[in-house]
Every structure is written in structure tokens, then in C-alpha cells.
Symmetry: C2
């Protein structure tokens, strides 16, 4: 097999978030899709982040990433700029959230610059940014064994054709269920996923929030519930943490050519995401251990087996 | 073990439904919770229906039940009356439905009368009717090994205390996730289910529509996604068909004292419900076979295994 360690590159937002949920609030916490993704993926593989920050992004923030071994060389510091800021509030039903404020700041002019090292990515995750930028980044990493993308309703509404062209360039689409329905205009996920695969990707992973996730390939279907939690404080970043665990595991395995690796990857993603929502933002990540993730992975196996699985 | 065949009794509504979905419509089709439940359960066990109908309920309707072996002796015919009528419309997102018309008719004065045979029920399902009536029926079947109930937002809003008292008399609560949240005012299903179990029941089955179902007991948790369907025409009655498959299987097994039986029952319920939504109302039931249900049960096992299960 390959002798060098695999590498995973994520391109996306780096942000400060203000979040209020019925169970607490934070005025300013580290966030952004690339941050959540890379912290989650760092439990499995070597990760490089590509993103941009302003003067307000200091050593304390870099340290959160570096303490988890995330390579931050491709984080561009824009002098005089401010880091992307998002403020939102969740209802008692945490599936419903309202954006209160969005200040794009340096993220508004984000033009991803990949170092030579990042261009050698084995696994590439194009987090939720403009589809055109995603396509440009994809073109710079021709050797990636697996490229995946996420997107959002904004791009489906304002840049649909561009998004469809970008989807044609990746191996895996990773979106939430409402977005798949909205983009494909198909009433069932089975049809929506198939339509996405007809564009090029061979895998579609559908994020369903508190209901879990589903994995579609041409030959098979896999679905996993979310971990049943006693307490959920803040869902912010859980979808990106899910993607990070999933792609981090795949990268560490040297790719996702078989069904079992894909199913295990989906389960690792769900395990990581389940820790994320137990605290605010990525706060739980700083204390999380691989051993805890393994324990939850086993819990997933037990709780999804139709015949029951004895406790290990 | 027991020498006689087990028996399952359901008390609930018998109705004519007018349903419109984005994929078709029916002006008048056989429906009602007791009908959907008993047809689904008939694939596993001997079922008796307790309900009331009017003059418009004729041989054709009785035949649908009897052709599946359902005992209709406890269906009360109210001379001069009309059968309960419900009309509804589903949005393109089939999770959202609007009631267009409700004519209670004979169901408005429904006072369940159980024959001696029905009072001997081994398994009892109290479908969604007034909590007080549910309690009266429960009291008439003291020998039931397992009693379960369903309910709805109407009773949570108008008869909350009565519903809580009824819940204390059953072994299993079977409700949808919004109803569990609404009734318990707990933000997570884990806490909601625990609160319900503290009232008395030892099992809570949460119906999650297109997302599947979850099973809570004091010691364990099991969750199953819905079967991924290409085409869904009409979700009417799917929740009751799920309950019918689940309790029909349990009844046939002589009870649900172990985790594996419960998990298999939940899976059989999901398998049956997945056929229901593929056509309008209970139309699919008339052609359905136990062999098809077994095939789908196996498909569920394959699609939920983290490690993958080879095709049998």
C-alpha cells in the first residue's frame, strides 16, 4: 500500500459565531465550516485548512487548531481585515434556527490559495462556499483520490447551474435532506440521490440532523440514526464535524472503495457529531479523545442491530 | 408454551377518507386507525377489531377486513348513522398535511363494546381515541400480556391529564416524535421517553415518519430508518400499519420479553409501513404477502448493518 501518510485538505469558512440556544449562549466562539471539519477530521488523519482570517484571529484561535495537529499554513491572514462573523438563534426545537447577523468581512473576498502541499491532497473537502470557488479548488487538486462537497440553499437559489457543474467534478456530495430535495426537485431522497449521482458523483451522503444520516451509492443504501442524547446544547457545526469524521476516516483508510469502509466512515462521522452537539460550537473537541469516539462507534453498532449485539 | 393461538384486539376508528397528495387522489377510500392496524397485524396474528360504522359501511368494506382474516364481530353497526369521514391534503413535502374536513358521525358517540372474546385479548392496541375511552377498554382486558396506546395532539391539548392517567395503565406508548415532545415538554426524545416510562410503561416506540422509528426501554435503545422508497404516494395510515406489524409480530411471539423480539417487531412494523405508503390508503394491503414482508425485513437488516451484511 502507500507508504506515506495520507492527507486531507478542507477549504471553507473560518468564523466567529455568536449563538443563542434555549440552553445557553456564547457571544463569540470559534466557528466556521473549515474549523469544525478540520478539528473533527484531526482525530483520524492529517488535515490542512485553507481559509482566510482578519486581525482579530489570534494565537488563541490558531492554538485550538494546532493543538489538534491541524496544519494552518494555508490560512491567509488579511491585514486590516476582520474575520467572518455569524450570529444565530435556535428555537426550542433545535432544528429551527434564525440568522440574526452575517458579516462576511474577509470571507467576502475569499480566493482560496493552495500551497503546493495542499495541492497534493489525497482527500479534498470543499465545504460550503461559492460553487465557482469550489470548482477552482477542485481543479488545483487533480490527484485527489476522493473529492467531496457540501453546499447550502443560498447557492441552490442563486448559483444553481454553477453548483451542478461543480457537483459533476466531485466523487461525493454531502448535503442535508432539504437541500437535496430543493436542488433536485425530487420528492424522495432515493430519486434525489440518484439524480445527483447521474451528474458524476458515485456517493451521496444525506445529513438529516437529529434523525441521522443516509448513504447512497449506485449499488447500495445505508442509513444510521443519530446518537440518542440526553442533552443537546448547540447543533452549530455538527454537520461539518460529521463530514470531518467521515472523510477523516476515509482518508486514513486510503480511500473508500468498499461498502464497509463507507459505512464505518458514516458511523465515525455520526459518532464525532454526537459529541459536538453536547456543548457549544467546537468546545467539546478540545477534550475529546479517540477512545471516546471508539466507544460511541461501538454504541452505534449495538443500537442499530436488528438482532441485537451483546455488549463487548 | 401456550397451546391456543394468541389474539390481538384493536380499538379505534373506522373511516372513509378523502385524500389528495401531489401524486394522486381518492374521493372515498376505506381508512381509520383500527382498519390500517388490523390489516397490517393480520399478516402475523389473529386480529379482532372493535369500532363503529354507519349504514354506508357495506359488504365491500367488511370483505376487505375478512379477506385478510380479521374478525369483525365487534364492529358495531349504528342504524341510520354514517361512518366517520375525514378529508385531507398533503403538500409536496408529504410530512405536511392539512385537514380539509372532519365528520365524526357515529364515531362521535363511540362507546367501545367488547365481546367476551375480545376481553380475552393477549395483546391490546388502543388506537388514537379519547383517553378516557382507552382507559375503559384497558380495564376490560385485565389479562392482556401487553397493552399499547397511540394518541394525538388533540388529546394532549384538551385531555392531557386523562391521557397521562391512561398511559400509566399500558406497557407501551407508541406516538410520533412531535407528540412525545409536546406531551412531555422535554427537548430530547431520550428525556421524553424516560419521562413516559416513569409513568408506568416499560417501552416507548417513537414514530418518526419518513425518518423511521426509535424504540426506548429502560435498558436499551434501538433505532431504525425508514425503508428508502423510490415512490411514496400517500402516507395515510402508515403509522397505524407500523403499529399493526409491530404488535402483530409481538402477539404471534407470545409477548415481548426480550430485546431481540422487540427489535424484530419494530423492523417488521417498518417493513409493513413501507408497503403502505407506496399506494393510497390500505390499497397495497390487499395484494401484500408475508413473503414480501420477509424480503423487506431482510433488506432492513442489510441496510442498517454498520459492517455490511452480505445478501442472503
Amino acid at each position: 500500500m502507500l507508504s506515506r501518510r495520507m492527507s486531507l485538505v478542507v477549504v471553507g469558512s473560518i468564523a466567529f459565531d455568536a449563538v443563542k440556544t434555549p440552553f445557553g449562549e456564547r457571544d463569540r466562539m470559534l466557528g466556521g465550516s473549515a474549523v469544525h471539519f478540520s478539528l473533527a477530521a484531526s482525530f483520524f488523519s492529517d488535515v490542512r485548512v485553507v481559509g482566510s482570517v482578519g486581525d482579530d484571529f489570534g494565537e488563541q484561535e490558531y492554538a485550538v487548531l494546532r493543538d489538534r495537529g491541524v496544519n494552518t499554513d494555508d490560512i491567509e491572514h488579511v491585514p486590516g481585515g476582520k474575520t467572518f462573523f455569524w450570529a444565530g438563534e435556535y428555537e426550542w426545537n433545535l432544528n429551527i434556527r434564525h440568522t440574526l447577523d452575517t458579516q462576511l468581512n474577509v470571507f467576502g473576498d475569499f480566493a482560496p490559495k493552495l500551497s503546493e502541499a495542499s495541492k497534493q491532497a489525497d482527500t479534498l473537502f470543499l465545504a460550503n462556499i461559492q460553487p465557482e470557488l469550489q470548482r477552482e479548488v477542485r481543479a488545483q487538486c487533480p490527484g485527489a483520490r476522493l473529492a467531496a462537497l457540501d453546499s447550502m440553499n443560498l447557492w441552490i437559489e442563486t448559483a444553481r447551474d454553477s453548483l451542478l457543474r461543480t457537483i459533476a467534478t466531485v466523487d461525493m456530495v454531502l448535503m442535508n435532506d432539504d437541500e437535496v430535495r430543493m436542488l433536485t426537485e425530487q420528492p424522495t431522497l432515493v430519486r434525489g440521490a440518484r439524480e445527483l449521482m447521474e451528474l458524476g458523483p458515485r456517493m451521496v451522503v444525506v445529513k438529516q440532523g437529529e434523525y441521522g444520516a443516509s448513504l447512497f451509492t449506485e449499488e447500495s443504501f445505508f442509513s444510521l440514526p443519530a446518537y440518542p442524547l440526553e442533552t443537546v446544547l448547540d447543533p452549530t457545526g455538527a454537520g461539518d464535524a460529521f463530514a470531518g469524521g467521515l472523510l477523516g476516516y476515509i482518508d486514513a483508510q486510503g480511500g473508500a472503495d468498499d461498502e464497509t469502509t463507507l459505512r464505518r466512515a458514516t458511523t465515525y462521522g455520526s459518532a464525532v457529531a454526537s459529541f459536538w452537539v453536547e456543548e457549544f460550537g467546537c468546545e467539546r473537541a478540545e477534550r475529546l479523545t479517540r477512545e471516546e469516539i471508539e466507544e460511541r462507534f461501538e454504541a452505534f453498532r449495538r443500537m442499530t442491530s436488528v438482532e441485537g449485539v451483546p455488549t463487548a
